[in-house]
Amino acid sequence: MTELSRIRNFSIVAHIDHGKSTLADRLIQLTGTVAARDMKEQMLDAMDIERERGITIKANTVRIEYPARDGQTYILNLIDTPGHVDFAYEVSRSMRAVEGSLLVVDASQGVEAQTLANVYQAIDADHEIVPVLNKIDLPAADPERVKAQIEDVIGLDASEAVEISAKSGLGIPEVLEAIVTRLPAPKGDRDAPLKAMLVDSWYDPYLGVVVLIRVMDGIIRKGDRIKMMQTGAVHGIDKLAVLKPQMVDTPELGPGEIGIFTGSIKQVRDTRVGDTITHEKKSCAAPLPGFKPSVPVVFCGLFPVDANDFEGLRDAIEKLALNDASFTHEMETSAALGFGFRCGFLGLLHLEVIRDRLEREYDLDLITTAPSVVYDIHMRDGTVQQLHNPADLPDLTYVEHVEEPRIKATILVPDDYLGDVLKLCQDRRGEQLELTYAGSRAMVVYDLPLNEVVFDFYDRLKSVTKGYASFDYQMIGYREDNLVKMQILVNDEPVDALSMMVHRDRAEARGRMMCEKLKDLIPRHMFKIPVQAAIGGRVIARETIAALRKDVTAKCYGGDVTRKKKLLEKQKAGKKKMRQFGKVEIPQTAFISALKMDG
């Protein structure tokens, strides 16, 4: 156990690509925490997807021993938090587990929207914040401008910002010194009953569920029986360790310390981020404040391209769900797509990450239906139903009104693109809340319906700003609006997988776009096929796929019979990749393309 005064717990707040992982790597390297031969890039990002996308999905932790210039050796615990808004709650818990943050800003790029959201989380958690300007050695670096921006936009004193190049290692010793001298030591009472926060948990094939905790008060020892206060579950501590970042056993963890335990917990689902851990006997009086069960906000259907893969998909989803309590799933059947699952996610990134993992780690080909948000359906009898799937919308005669979730979106954009961004937000039924400037960049804050954002907002934003805008959001609540279910009919048959909830004012445009797209995606048949978008019984958009006019072999003589017959058989086999809708066969690729979010 370590003296409180020689512990510093911190996180790193940064935008993607601003060098968070590289800085973490350098801190680990310079203190000799990991032997040089074991170092690899983005040491803390364990998943391939994290490394590839340069994002952090799970909280990762490393304990660093640092002999400071004052002659003392300090224990520095870094919790590397997920940087994305989808994981805002997880971020807020990680923030509560540490006392300070390094705010890493790219000295050439400046502050981004994502940086803002996370730095506000750090401020909310009463962190001391040390600004760090990275990439100081780039020719485009402009530290003075960026410091001014930090002061203007965030309101932090940046005069003593540490200037570094994580890539070359420049300034890293100064960062370590700043952690020790400028961040506060944790507080806590080692004689009080045990009170620890469950920061994160994950599944390890050898150890079962591993729980990351921060001890607030008291001492946790191997062999203790502990209780999770929110779930009430009781476990014996089998293993207690710190992460360097590999596990190193420790007999006990005291106040201010961060480590992991295992205790024959079978599923990650059985643990709740933010839960309070105490001793089964001699419990602490009250749990830590701020616990929230995680609630999915974006839903979509996941279906196997090959119906034979359904069991494989079920296994894969169940395995992933064991390790991710925030991801929900239930079986769904679609006339178009067969058997699959309706899945709930914390946000779009979470959706993409899960889908990528299913496809990559379990080698599945998936069809993803259009993402949908959760609508509150207020019924005439006063009850409220939550609608996860547009196909399940109750009969409208029983519906009083429909409410949709709205978000507060923060967009930072060079002023050259401001007009395009404002137009995009207005088109998406946004309401402007704020417009301010920081240097040549504008900060736009909008109140937007989440369903307009899950559709293709982010891709549109990227394209109208040539990738220069940064975007972040938080949920702000539900609001009533004129929302309707739009169905797509192919040859007069509704195609359930293409149903969507839309705002009445946007329905025509969306319906027209969908019909035009499908017209190009569905091959010509032996007859004309109407493709319609409809609300209730009323058609609001229509296209017609002309009948096939020519599909005949010009020459077919004695020497061609075998070959042409085989060709017909091959084409017949190719039709298995089609889904039958009445008389119409729709290729699966058409669903995939029609449902693609990028419009």
Binding site: H525, M526, R549, K572
Partner: protein
Amino acid sequence: MPVAAPEPVDDWRHGGFGVYLHWPFCQAKCPYCDFNSHVTAQIDQKRWADAYRRDIARVAALVPDRIVRSIFIGGGTPSLMQPDTVAAVVDAVRGGWPTANDLEVTLEANPTSVEAGRFRGYRDAGVNRVSMGIQALDDHALRRLGRMHSVAEARAAFDVARAHFERVSFDLIYARQDQSAAEWKRELHEALSMAVDHLSLYQLTIEDGTPFAARLAAGGLRGLPDQDLSADLYEVTQEVCSAAGMDAYEVSNHARPGAMSQHNLIYWRCGDWAGVGPGAHGRLTIAGERCATVAPSAPGAWLARAEAGIDVDSSEPLARPDAAAEVLMMGLRLSEGVDLRRLRTLGLEVAGLQELVDDGLIALDGSRMTASARGRLILNSVLRRLLSDQP
């Protein structure tokens, strides 16, 4: 006494019996052609004649008791054969089987002066019908198709053929690059003014593995018609030919009444035929079992095996559903269509028939099923539907 239903054993009799002979050599390959043809400087015609003779005798021993209705000498470029070689082949067939009184003996010919010089010899060898690959009546188009003759030369050769043979057919390729419906109509009128009794009018098809396919894949061969224009071109063809008294009796073949190619009808009516020569396919019903035969396609390999008296063909029995699918696939190409009872006897119940009738793609007259004009233009789709219940 009840009359026994026709046995599938005799199914080939619906189409009769013929002999196809493949001559695998060309002076040069055309860029659109995917037939089995080879360019060789020296050909020992005597050796080839002997090998053909041997192989024809071998097949005749396999399926005796047939009356040969037709001999078709195709290629390659059979008009590169010396008349003696052709005579050897025709004589071998006549020696192997009895032949019909009106035996049709067709030879494919290139329309050049060199070949026209051999027409008398071919007639003396027993050829009574010539099918000429004129391909286009437009010099620019001929060059683009990689043909080595001009329109003038083709017309001259055609006149020589007419002087020697009562029955002369020729081929044209249309739906070419940058070809409008109006231009094609003009060319077709000109063709009809030349035509004797038979015309084969093929839409240009880019076959896999041909130089044209490679050019197309590389972004070349621009100006090919889209689906709607090729359908228009096809419809123009039907209209113009019908008005001239040359209805299509098959997807791409037009004839005056009674002048249909007897040989090709054997294929479309799914009769039996012996396939002789490199890469030739055959259909032979032996001991009640219909077999698909195919000879090795390399000329050298075929020649060596035929000379050694080895059975050159690989032969595979056709399962009854496969045989039935062939009857359907080939028969619906014909304006006469197919008899549903024949399909049933072979164990095939077609799928979705009423729907196709309702959509105006198939017509039924008693047990006779035909593709409508619109149905014939999308015959592959119609066939996939009709065969969709088949494994």
